[in-house]
Subunit: 197 residues, 2 copies
Amino acid sequence: MGRPSLQEQRTTEILAAYELCVARHGLDGATQERIAAEAGVKRTLLRHYLGNKDEMVEALIKHVVTRFNSETDQMIAALPKTDRPKALLDILFGPLGVSETASVLTINALGAASDRFPKARTGLLEVITRMHDAVAEELIRDYPRVDKTACRAAAFGICHLYFSIDSLMMLDPPEDWLNQARQAANVHLQALEETLK
Amino acid sequence: MGRPSLQEQRTTEILAAYELCVARHGLDGATQERIAAEAGVKRTLLRHYLGNKDEMVEALIKHVVTRFNSETDQMIAALPKTDRPKALLDILFGPLGVSETASVLTINALGAASDRFPKARTGLLEVITRMHDAVAEELIRDYPRVDKTACRAAAFGICHLYFSIDSLMMLDPPEDWLNQARQAANVHLQALEETLK
DNA sequence: TTTTAAATTGTCATATTTGCAAATTTACTA
DNA sequence: TAGTAAATTTGCAAATATGACAATTTAAAA
């Protein structure tokens, strides 16, 4: 009975457009007009599916948190059986990991507004901590004889190197930056290996 | 004759307020009202001193570029005679280096809009490259027997670790993050020392 | 074909943002 | 004190953004 629901699909499309607009224009610059244009729908549909502006922000936060978390999980799940840390760096600093929607920019924009939207703060801290932990766990597993604190520091360095590069991708930086980032991240792995000698 | 000029002072005040608003609300969310309120002046004064919106953005870009460059220079100039790399990390990851106005957020926001403001792209790439080079130069000087490529990779890692942390400061992250960042950055220095053995 | 639930569009009032061009005030000088 | 150059304020029009609700269209089921 009735027309089939597009709620999930449309909601996802709109949130994806929203994310992109926030990355480009900032949270307060992501107007409903822009989002609607980016999503290819009428402005009034945003309200229909996501509610008013405050509710839209809430939905965006939830969306960004769950998507980023699942991307972290997928990244870990995609690792091969051997040489996992190296493969991790290949993902993070390969052409795929970085760029796409420059999602770290969205995180930065939301984080900058976290005093107005407290849920953004807790959600984003959770997201980032989860990535720290996931990477650290990988390193601890692959370097079982190395001090865990050192592994966590390495994970921290690798994650934030990725964050910085990703948030600068829209500058269309020299290709060399990705290599340098890859190399700098690799230093952390080598340092862990050094401590075994 | 005539009233004394406040051009420089006012211009600087307004640009500082502008910077803060861009960090908080994004480039397109930094409305003239917000900027004026932040600077404690009437909106129309912005126009008087900086021109219309496009000209304001131009001025902001120029301001951010020159300020960030001079901060880089000051940082280098503030280093002691010995143990300069360690001192560098103390500055970058001390309570002073990070936070303040979270100026990296402004860089991110401007970078995200660099397709609309081409001067932002060139200016920001210049700023970042200059910091890369300044830090790399320090490392090369302090580790003269180490491969320069390795020094540059270390500099790259340290700079972008700083960028990421600074752009997340508004989330009011756990204090531990600064320690972890400091530790991760230190890994780069230790790695350079290792290669001497 | 009629019913039905949901998508989609249309419209209008209100509030915010921006641009521009006066008027007005202020602080110094001759 | 009068002149003057600059700061500062005032006022208004145009453009844009938001909220809320009514009207219409669409795709499936009965």
